[in-house]
Each structure stands twice: as structure tokens, then as C-alpha cells.
């Protein structure tokens, strides 16, 4: 017998099991498994957990102990880039997504009883549509990387072509994901190198790769190195050959720069993590997916879509629409296999954007721009080449250190600073590091990074 409550807390029926079995007409619960081959039945429960049920308080203590082995960088927050940066998560946004009605709901298959959830998701779609100036936004993909892969797949369906031309400025992990997801479809993926001076995709490289077999041109702006690309030019190239232009964008940057819809993008995807989701060691994220208003595109859109409609009494109402694209109806002919997505994160992002407002977004983007530029300048003053590219950047920038960056990094860590991302990780020059500087980094944080870098450089020079 377990102590009081250990099972009944979450499995209330155990307290009436005997009576229920009687009603069912069996005397032992295992009779309900009589159709399972005997040899498959486990002789004893699996050895998982801590050998016996734990009380809530014990679990808290276990977790408290193990989590104390993590180091949290709060002041200053990590300067680590890589397409995932520390951003402010408003307390109100957290509160909203912790509410049980949203948190514990399923996909709103029954529209009438889930109007609130549906409205919240419709608002997410609407806010992203206004932000990107693309009219159709799905209710979310998993993250930026898979949204990129889905965009490529969608372009292949729309164009019935197999070649995908990708800018070398795409996040290396996104490229990996793209390769994985496109495996089954026999796609040909070609990468257009970036110009080492400017940090943007070489126009020649791009035009030489795009042809009549190209389904999509994928450009990230800002790209992995933080640099804005010439999306309009890329779009022209793509469109000239009948390909679609997929832009990977950074949502907060749209406070400053022209949205994908104005640059000629047919599909725009993004990692929505900056929109109030927090770091969470890389997940959950939010795959933002927006397309132009075009029936040809709409038909091939992957994922869930919420639409505005009316009820039997003429009131405004919301419901899932165009479900015939989806797996539960179309099965192997569906536009994607996706069903569970990142709905709750989409609600968080919508709350975040509504909280910020358009003017606020502009101010915030400016603040990030100022801070990342200030950081680059401060690092330059300490003898680091930052940024190494001449292209305009936002939030992230690439720096070249006089010697391999890892040793500087270790010194920073010793000073309580989580520094940039060593690009050695992705097989690049070990002297390179990608820094991310956001609204969370105060001027003082940046100054302390700079002086720690100065000290670290002195030490590593001495040491080496």
C-alpha cells in the first residue's frame, strides 16, 4: 500500500476500482488484458523513477538538488548567439499561458466551447499577418528550423520542382534540419556562399544556382551572422525563374526594417522565441509561418488555420478552417503531417506583441540595435574585430579574436559571464564567435563584458 494520496492524487479511480471491476464483471484487473499474449506481460513494473512513488515535496527536493547544478546567467544574461537569445518575458505573458483553460485544452476541435482559445489563436495569426504584411499565417509550426523545412516542402509542392537554393547565411542547424526533412522528397539542396567581406549572400553565387528547376530560394535576413540580406534582390532572382522566395526573418527586427511582405517574400518563417517565450534551453520554440494571399499558396499551406466566421445566431465566431489540407482528413495527401504544434507559444507571442504595440516594437528594436552596436564597438576598442562583416547587423554580430576564442570564453566564464558562441562548433575559424546582445543587456553589462574580454585577452596572450 502506498502512503495516503500517492496514487489517488492523479488516479482518482483507484479508490473505487474494486466496485468498478465488479460492474465490469471481472474479478481481477488483469482479466482486462487477457487478449495480450502472456509472454508479453511484464512480470514486474519497469524500473523507472526513484524506485517508489515520490510525494510532491520529495520531487521538489530532488529537482531542487539536481537543478542547483545548473548555472544561471542573469546579471549579465548570456551573450551567446545562435538564433536563440535572452529576451524579456513579461510576467503578464507568463501568467496568461499558465492559466488552466488554455494550458490544459486540446486542439479546439469543438469550436463552440473553445471560442476563447480560437480567438487567441486567430489574433496570433492576425498580429503576425500585420507584422509581416503577409495575409495568411498558420497557427504555428514547431520552431524556426522546421518551419523553414516546411516552407521548402511547400514550395516544392506549389512549383512541382525539386531544387532548393539556400543562402549560406542560414543558421547551420536549420540547414541540417532542411537536409533531414527533405531526404524523403529527393530534393536537391544547393547552398549559395556568403560574401566574406559583407557577410551577405553573394548575388552571383545565388543567380548562378537558381534556375527553372528551383522551387525555392531561402534567405535569412538577418542571417546567422546577424547581417541583413538583400531580400528584394533575392526575390527578384527567384521570381524570375518561377521559384518562391522564402525569407527567414527575426520578428523583433521588423520594428526597424521592412517586413517580408514588402520585400517580395512569398513565404516568411521565423523562430518566435524572441516574442516572450524565454530561453528554456532551446525549446519549446514557435515556428512562425506566413504566406502571401494567393489561393495556390493557401491550398498548399501546412498546419492549422483558424478563421473568423459566425454562429447560428449571427454572432462573430471562430473555428478551424480549410482542414481538408490536414492529415486527419487528407492523410497521405496532406500538406504536412503536423498536428500538435506550438499553440500555447503562439498565444504567448500574441500577448507579447499586443503588450508591446507597434511603437513599442520600434523602440525595442532600436534598443536592441543600439546595444548590439554598442557592444561591437566596445569589443573593437579592446582589440577584437567586431563585427567582421560590413553589412548592417541586428542583435547578433560576428567577432574575430586575435587567438582561438575558446580560451577567452573560459576566462569570461570564470568572471561569471557566458560569452559568445564559438563558431568552431560549426566547423569555422576557431577565432570566431557570435555574440548576441539584446534589450536585456544593460550598458553596464556590456561594459563589463568588454573589460572582461580585455582582461581575458591579456591573460591568454600571456598564457600563449
Amino acid at each position: 500500500m502506498e502512503p495516503w494520496g500517492y496514487l489517488s492524487r492523479w488516479v482518482p479511480g483507484v479508490t473505487r476500482r474494486k466496485e468498478m471491476l465488479e460492474r465490469i464483471g471481472v474479478s481481477d484487473v488483469m482479466e482486462l488484458y487477457s487478449d495480450v499474449p502472456r509472454e508479453l506481460i511484464l512480470p514486474e513494473p519497469p524500473r523507472v523513477g526513484y524506485g517508489r512513488p515520490l510525494s510532491e515535496e520529495e520531487v521538489r527536493r530532488v529537482l531542487d538538488e539536481v537543478l542547483s547544478r545548473n548555472t544561471v546567467y542573469r546579471a549579465p544574461p548570456p551573450f551567446t548567439g545562435g538564433g536563440w537569445c535572452p529576451h524579456h518575458v513579461p510576467a503578464a505573458v507568463r501568467y496568461i499561458v499558465e492559466r488552466g483553460e488554455f494550458l490544459t485544452a486540446y486542439t479546439p476541435y469543438q469550436a463552440e466551447i473553445n471560442q476563447g482559445l480560437l480567438q487567441a489563436l486567430f489574433e496570433y495569426q492576425s498580429l503576425i499577418a500585420d507584422l509581416t504584411e503577409l495575409e495568411v499565417v498558420n497557427a504555428s509550426m514547431y520552431d524556426g528550423s522546421t518551419a523553414t523545412a516546411e516552407a521548402a516542402l511547400m514550395a516544392m509542392r506549389v512549383t512541382r520542382r525539386r531544387k532548393v537554393v539556400v543562402s549560406g547565411g542560414l543558421h547551420p542547424e536549420y540547414l541540417e534540419v532542411l537536409r533531414t526533412w527533405l531526404q524523403g522528397k529527393g530534393a536537391e539542396i544547393r547552398v549559395a556562399d556568403i560574401d566574406v567581406e559583407s557577410g551577405v549572400t553573394s548575388t552571383e553565387a545565388l543567380s548562378s544556382l537558381v534556375d527553372g528547376n528551383t522551387a525555392a530560394v531561402i534567405v535569412s535576413s538577418p542571417n546567422f551572422y546577424g547581417v541583413f540580406e538583400d531580400v528584394e534582390a533575392a526575390a527578384d532572382t527567384a521570381h524570375k525563374h518561377g521559384a518562391l522566395l522564402v525569407q527567414v526573418f527575426e520578428p523583433l527586427s521588423l520594428g526597424l526594417v521592412k517586413p517580408p511582405g514588402r520585400l517580395g517574400a512569398d513565404i516568411a518563417v521565423a523562430e518566435g522565441q524572441p516574442l516572450g517565450l524565454g530561453l528554456n534551453y532551446g525549446g519549446p520554440g514557435l515556428g512562425v509561418f506566413a504566406v502571401r494571399w494567393d489561393r495556390r499558396l493557401l491550398r498548399q499551406l501546412p498546419g492549422r488555420l483558424i478563421g473568423m466566421t459566425r454562429d447560428a445566431e449571427g454572432r462573430r465566431a471562430f473555428t478551424m478552417i480549410l482542414q481538408a489540407r490536414e492529415q486527419h482528413i487528407r492523410r497521405e495527401k496532406a500538406t504536412s503531417n503536423i498536428t500538435t504544434n506550438e499553440a500555447l507559444m503562439a498565444i504567448a507571442a500574441a500577448a507579447y506583441l499586443s503588450f508591446l504595440g507597434g511603437e513599442g516594437l520600434r523602440e525595442l528594436a532600436r534598443s536592441i540595435w543600439l546595444r548590439s552596436h554598442y557592444a561591437a564597438r566596445r569589443l573593437s576598442e579592446e582589440g577584437v574585430e567586431a563585427p567582421i562583416f560590413s553589412g548592417e547587423f541586428f542583435k547578433e554580430f560576428t567577432a574575430r579574436f586575435p587567438a582561438p576564442y575558446r580560451r577567452v570564453h573560459e576566462e569570461l566564464k570564470r568572471r561569471g559571464i557566458m560569452g559568445g558562441l564559438a563558431l568552431e562548433r560549426y566547423g569555422m575559424d576557431p577565432r570566431l564567435a557570435l555574440f548576441c546582445v539584446t534589450e536585456l543587456h544593460s550598458k553596464r553589462d556590456i561594459d563589463s563584458l568588454a573589460s572582461a574580454v580585455a582582461e581575458a585577452l591579456k591573460i591568454t596572450e600571456r598564457g600563449g
Binding site: 548567439g81 490544459t104 492576425s126 526597424l256 483558424i306 466566421t309 447560428a312
Partner: protein
């Protein structure tokens, strides 16, 4: 209890896009420094040139009180497990423990950057490492990848693994077998991985038709995707034979373990002969659905298939935990970084809290709940239990409202709406496709017997009402925030409105 007088809240809450006050509740963290910084580095617009957008984006700005009220009101018009029973079959809407939410939002998880050094995240890595072992143990597999963000992504992972496995062996196998009772993601995932989907019919007992299976198997067969217990809640009792047949034909067995809820701790897919399994952490392991996500679709593999799991995998050397990026045969990477950490942590809390014995009891109770409901439904007219009604179901059961429909014209869809009117969420309807007027019901281990009784009673009442006045049932729901939603209007090309922007552009005549 919902009770006879239940009604849901109704707020005429404007769309956030319609909010008037263009103010803002968000405070820019160190915003007061910006003027000084601008003096040092200049203004962005002076540097961005043609990239610059000029005016600010058109987004509403809400003060904090407006924001919180807006979502509080929307929440009052929403319905999850916290509101009442949500016995959506195949969805495993079990209770989501609050302590999991508390622990997953601990700053020592929430504030970790995915690319910060491994020596600074040893605690979390240990959790992930342990979780992987536990899930491998529960499924009877060797290793797992925590990367797939949902079940369907897990299926795609598995299908790609199968594809690559055969290719590496120089075999061209391009057919994936999928039973007709399978979840829609199975064929969709197989197709995404480039397979031709071959549908295997069910036999009269609701399980895989062995004859049809034998007939379908060939040297083109890459594998089969199976759910067991299947979506009818029936255990595929010939599973060992199925496994033998498929393996003998050179195919692999993929287990759709989205829903392990009827058998966890009792039977293991690995022991049944499966090579690859995916798990829906957001179903079986009590991480919440969030109105559609996020989830986590861990994929586990056995034997030679382990090499094909996406990378990185979590490894341990002595006391140190680290990510192993080596990838000789692996299919690559299924998403950026490592997976949906928050749901994974909740699964950890759930398994740690229950342990093996608790998981087993939960599974047993899920099955008891299903069969208790079946017992309560005996003699309730209008619904029939297709396929071997005497055989016990496991995690779920599928009824058919065909008799009711025949007699009264009231459909499964109408029954669903009438349930809503009683404050009870509807079951999954019209799925699996092999059952007419299907009502697919899964109470899970966390539903109370009292609510199961109320649910059976509600179905009885609805059938009676349907016989008395079918048109009344067809007018349901009335007690929800809105009345029956106009799906035709919603989907009609001239009125379809997937965003407020479309609404506004159409109103201005700017939409083609």
C-alpha cells in the same frame, strides 16, 4: 459538476486588433539608456537606409490591465481538462499536475541558453539523460532521441530512419504499410518521408487483417506503422505474428506510441517486436496540450536502428553529461537544438512521481475506466460497440452512433454538440474512419468514476432527447459561448478569413 443549469461565459470581447488605446504595457528593460547609446553609436535609421521601414508596425498596444482582462475573458470562453472531462479519444487528455508546471518554470531551467557551455547545465543534462533511460526502459528499446517536438515529428523521424536503414543496406523499399484504423499522421508522415502508403484493412475483429498483410508484404515493403492497442482501443493480439511476417519480409516495425496509456508498465513495444517507437510525452506522460501544443515526441530505437537516431544524443561519461554529435549513420537533425525541454521536464516529474508501479497502476486504471464506461453503456440504446463488443478495450473505446442516426437522423456530430451543452467536452468524432458515426472516447486514468457515470448518463439522455425531438438536439449547442458555428461560411472562398488583415483588406476591396 456542470449540472443542468450549466452555461459558459460569454464576453463580447473585441479582437486585440480592434483595441483602441495604442499604448503599451511592455517596458523596455534598460530603455532609459537608449538616448545615451544613440549618441555613441548613432540611430539605426541613419544606417539602415533602404532597409528601414519608416513608420512603426501596425500593432495594438495594450496596458497590462487590458492585456490580462482580454485573456482572462478569452480563458472564460475556453475549455480544457481543468474545466471538466475532455474524453477526446486518441488524445489522452489526462490531468496535468501543477507541480510539473511549477518545476518546469524554475529559473534554473527557464533561463538556460541552449548553447551555453555543457559544464554549466549539468543538472539539466542529468535529467535528460535519466529521462532517456526511463523511456527506453518503458518502451523496451535501447536508446531514444528527445529531439522531435511532437508525435508527428517523431513519426517522420522514424520513417526517415527506416528509409535510410534500407538505403544503407542497398535496398530500395518504398512502401509503408499503414492499417486503415491508423491515425492520420501515420500515412502523412510516411508520405513526407517519401514512401508510398499501402493501406492494410482491418478484419472483422477490428485488428490487422493478417491475410491482407501477407498479401501486401513484398520486397518493396519498408515497414509497417502500427498502434497497439490500436485506435479502437483493441490490443492487436496477433502482434507477434505480425512482427514475424514483417521482419521476414525484410520490413521494419514502427510503433506509434502516441498513446501508451493503456499499457505502460504492463507490456512493452520492444518486446512485441517493434524496432522504432515514438512517444507522445504530452499524452502518456501528462505534459499539457496547451490548446494544441507544445508537445514532445521522443523516438526510441532498438539494435541497428539506434545508429539512425537524429543527433545529438545525450551521453554520460563518469559524472559528466554531454551531447554526442557524432553521426555516422544518423538521419541528421530533426529540429534545432535538443527538443522541447519544458514538456520533457514535466514527463520527468511525472515518471519520478509515480515510478514504475505508479505508471502501471495509472495504465490499469485507464483500462478500468474504459471498461467501466462500456459496462455503464450496456443497454443504452442508440449507440453500438462495433468489433467484438465483449473484448475488453484498453485506453479507449469507439462507439458508433449509427443506430441513433438511422432512427432519428441525429449524427455523431450532433451528439457531440449536445454533450457540450451539458458542460462536457465531446469525444473525438468520425475517427477512426472505419467506424460510421464514430464516437471515440478516452477518459484516461485521471478521470473520476463519478464523471464517467455522468458521461454515460448524458449520452443516454441525449439519445432519449433525439428520439423525442431530434430537431432540438440539432439546435445544440446553446449553452456554450456561441451557438453552432457556421462552417460553410468559415470555409467558403468568398468569406474565408484567416486573419484580421484579410478581413480588413477584403472590406477595402483590396483582396483578389
Amino acid at each position: 459538476m456542470a449540472g443542468k443549469e450549466w452555461r459558459q461565459a460569454r464576453w463580447e470581447e473585441p479582437l486585440v486588433n480592434e483595441y483602441q488605446g495604442r499604448r503599451g504595457g511592455y517596458t523596455i528593460p534598460h530603455g532609459w539608456e537608449d538616448e545615451e547609446l544613440a549618441r555613441i553609436v548613432g540611430e539605426p535609421w541613419d544606417r539602415l537606409g533602404g532597409l528601414s521601414r519608416g513608420e512603426a508596425p501596425q500593432l495594438p498596444g495594450l496596458s497590462e490591465i487590458e492585456l490580462v482582462r482580454h485573456y482572462t475573458r478569452l480563458a472564460h470562453m475556453s475549455y480544457g481538462v481543468d474545466n471538466g472531462p475532455v474524453p477526446l479519444g486518441s488524445c489522452t487528455m489526462k490531468y496535468n499536475p501543477r507541480v510539473s508546471e511549477e518545476l518546469a518554470s524554475d529559473p534554473r531551467v527557464a533561463l538556460l541558453h541552449p548553447l551555453q557551455d555543457e559544464d554549466t547545465v549539468q543538472g539539466l543534462l542529468e535529467i535528460l539523460w535519466r529521462l532517456e533511460r526511463w523511456l527506453a526502459e518503458i518502451t523496451g528499446m535501447d536508446r531514444c532521441s528527445l529531439q522531435p517536438p511532437a508525435g508527428a515529428a517523431g513519426e517522420l523521424t522514424g520513417a526517415l530512419m527506416i528509409r535510410k536503414y534500407h538505403l544503407d543496406r542497398g535496398e530500395e523499399r518504398d512502401e509503408m504499410l499503414v492499417p486503415d484504423s491508423a491515425h492520420g499522421t501515420n500515412p502523412a508522415s510516411a508520405a513526407m518521408a517519401g514512401f508510398r502508403v499501402v493501406k492494410i484493412p482491418s478484419n472483422s475483429r477490428g485488428t490487422v487483417d493478417l491475410e491482407a498483410l501477407r498479401a501486401a508484404l513484398s520486397e518493396r515493403t519498408a515497414g509497417i506503422m502500427l498502434t497497439n492497442p490500436n485506435t479502437l482501443g483493441l490490443f492487436e493480439d496477433e502482434i507477434l505474428e505480425i512482427a514475424r511476417l514483417v521482419h521476414d519480409a525484410g520490413g521494419l516495425l514502427y510503433y506509434d506510441g502516441a498513446n501508451l496509456n493503456g499499457i505502460m508498465g504492463i507490456v512493452r513495444p520492444g518486446d512485441m517486436g517493434f524496432d522504432i517507437v515514438h512517444l507522445n510525452v504530452h499524452k502518456t506522460f501528462a505534459s499539457p496540450h496547451g490548446g494544441g501544443g507544445p508537445g514532445a515526441g521522443v523516438v526510441c530505437a532498438k539494435g541497428a536502428l539506434v545508429d539512425y537516431l537524429p543527433r545529438p544524443l545525450i551521453e554520460r561519461r563518469g559524472d559528466r553529461f554531454y551531447w554526442d554529435y557524432s553521426c555516422e549513420r544518423c538521419i541528421g537533425r530533426i529540429r534545432a537544438f535538443y527538443g522541447n525541454i519544458a514538456p520533457l521536464l514535466k514527463a520527468y516529474v511525472y515518471i519520478a512521481s509515480l515510478s514504475g508501479v505508479g505508471l502501471r497502476e495509472a495504465a490499469l486504471q485507464a483500462t478500468v475506466n474504459t471498461n467501466y464506461f462500456i459496462a455503464l453503456m450496456r443497454g443504452v440504446e442508440g449507440y453500438e460497440l462495433p468489433y467484438d463488443p465483449e473484448r475488453p478495450r484498453k485506453h479507449e473505446v469507439v462507439y458508433s452512433a449509427k443506430p441513433l442516426h438511422r432512427e432519428t437522423g441525429v449524427t455523431a456530430g450532433d451528439v457531440a454538440k449536445a454533450l457540450l451543452d451539458r458542460g462536457l467536452h465531446a469525444p473525438t468524432i468520425y475517427f477512426p474512419l472505419i467506424v460510421d458515426e464514430a464516437l471515440m472516447i478516452e477518459f484516461t486514468d485521471s478521470e473520476t468514476p463519478e464523471n464517467i457515470e455522468a458521461y454515460a448518463e448524458a449520452l443516454r439522455e441525449i439519445a432519449e432527447q433525439a428520439r423525442r425531438s431530434p430537431e432540438e438536439v440539432k439546435k445544440a449547442p446553446r449553452n456554450t459561448s456561441v451557438a453552432r458555428v457556421d462552417e460553410v461560411y468559415a470555409n467558403h472562398p468568398r468569406t474565408v478569413t484567416p486573419s484580421y488583415r484579410v478581413h480588413a483588406l477584403r472590406a477595402k476591396g483590396l483582396l483578389r
